[in-house]
Amino acid sequence: MIREMKISLPVQKLAYAIFFVVILSLVRGVTYSVEIGIALEAPMAILALTFCADTYTQEIVSRRSEVQRLYPMKKRVRAVYRRILVQELFLLALAIGGYGLFFLFQNPGTAGMGQDGLDSEMCRFLIYVAAIAVTLLFWGILSTLLACLFRNMWIGIGGCLLLWVLTNSSMGDRYLGRWNLFSYTYRSLENSGDPGWICGKIVCICIAVTAAAVLPEIIEKRG
């Protein structure tokens, strides 16, 4: 696992990801803490899709994939999954840290919140962690898949960005509603007890699981 960390988390990637979250927490204004999740979800999705696009394509660019074709498929796939896991865990930690940075830099209000139940600060934070984990997983795996399919990191990033633009919009919200990939961002803040937005996250999980299942086949076929 340490080697996977060294391979998929080089210093420059760590640096730009941390820089991105720090800048975001400084420039994206929030008034109430309930807005932090909304402020973070879509930008973190962009970070995940760019961050994970080179998970396997770095093997293609460096020609290591030509040697790895000779290795057992199981080992190769396990290594790719481990790299995705390492990157996703890092991004999740960063997303959690980013949540804290918003508090640190902007000291948002917590007005209108209860001390317990779904309105408590801790509960909102835990819901955010669950939602952002699914978001990161989805965009990370999708960009890895597209990049592998087309053997090009930029197509992975570009394809995902297109989907990001379509779904992270009022049009996406209008047509997809609670099934939108960004359902957490577009949920109703007034009615925080409505769990309808979970549908969108279930869609994300289903697509991510399918993508993860198809990934070995694509790596084998596309090398």
């Binding site: 080697r3 060294k6 391979i7 080089p10 660019v61 460096s62 020609r63 290591r64 030509e66 040697v67 790895q68 074709r69 000779l70 290795y71 057992p72 080992k75 190769r76 290594a79 090398g223």
Partner: protein
């Protein structure tokens, strides 16, 4: 058994035939593949390592035909060093080789033992803690070769392994390949003629996707015998005149005169004497024979 190639054709999407109806048999031992840049050597190696599927023809390795269902069996028998490979820059030499050994299915213990052995053989032991990005081009090439040897494959395919190496390193790598070839097949592709002269008995010459020659080194030299000439030119103008008319394999100042080696099917129309062919002469003779 070795590798048998029959009527092999590889045509790219742009209709360029990188390999054009080629036939070849590669026996056990070290086998050289010689050819100019773009001759099709790398394409051939990519086919043999299953990176590329041929457009036509058949290839067998130890009697196993190259087809989808047999690829796993074939891949287990092969070690490969591509022409260009950039091994993990953020890992140390030891980590990189252990990682690749592990991916290839070796146990940790076996991988470590073999890494120690081959790092020693390639004089890299002292550099095992260095990051890959800190190594010189020649060192990276040697680490690349070690990764190809780690599995101790029955068929080792190396694409220009001596590129970027200094003379001592080249000799070391050549000797390592010769030692390794005992009881195995090593396909050694290069355009450095002297590397082949020092290692192989058997070789093939490729040009524009075709094999111009395949056989023993001795027979290749015999074919060129009687077509290599040496002569003297008084000045550079005369030398240039000769270069226009004939293939010149070497040109050297000897005092005030230029000594020139010419390759010509017939006796050149100047004062010259026949001389013994080197592999380089023979290669140029074969490559330019009409």
């Amino acid at each position: 058994m070795g590798i048998r190639i029959e009527d092999l054709t590889v045509t790219f999407k742009n209709k360029v035939a990188a390999i054009d109806h080629a036939d070849l048999e590669i026996p056990k031992g070290i086998f050289g593949l010689l050819g100019e840049n773009g001759a099709g050597k790398t394409t051939l190696m990519r086919v043999l390592t299953t990176v590329l599927s041929p457009t036509g023809g058949t290839v067998t390795l130890d009697g196993i035909p190259y087809r989808e269902g047999n690829y796993d069996k074939i891949r287990r028998k092969i070690g490969y060093l591509p022409q260009e490979i950039d091994l993990y820059p953020g890992l140390s030499v030891q980590e990189c080789l252990e990682y690749m050994g592990n991916l290839s299915g070796l146990s940790k213990q076996t991988a470590r033992e073999r890494i120690d052995y081959y790092l020693e053989k390639t004089s890299l032991s002292a550099h095992r803690r260095k990051k890959m990005r800190q190594l010189s081009g020649g060192m990276k090439r040697r680490v690349g070769l070690v990764q190809a040897l780690l599995n101790e494959p029955e068929f080792l395919i190396v694409d220009e392994p001596t590129t970027g190496l200094d003379p001592e390193e080249r000799i070391r790598i050549r000797n390592l390949l010769v030692d390794f070839s005992e009881g195995r097949t090593v396909l050694f592709s290069t355009h450095v003629v002297e590397d082949l002269a020092a290692t192989c008995n058997q070789l093939a010459v490729m040009k524009k996707g075709k094999f111009l020659y395949a056989g023993s080194m001795r027979e290749l030299l015999e074919q060129a015998e009687g077509h290599i000439w040496t002569c003297k030119a008084k000045d550079e103008t005369t030398a240039r005149e000769l270069e226009r008319k004939y293939h010149v394999s070497s040109k050297q100042y000897r005092g005030s005169e230029l000594q020139i080696r010419l390759i010509s099917e017939l006796h050149p129309e100047i004062v010259c004497s026949p001389c013994e062919a080197t592999l380089e002469d023979a290669y140029i003779y074969i490559a330019n024979k009409k």
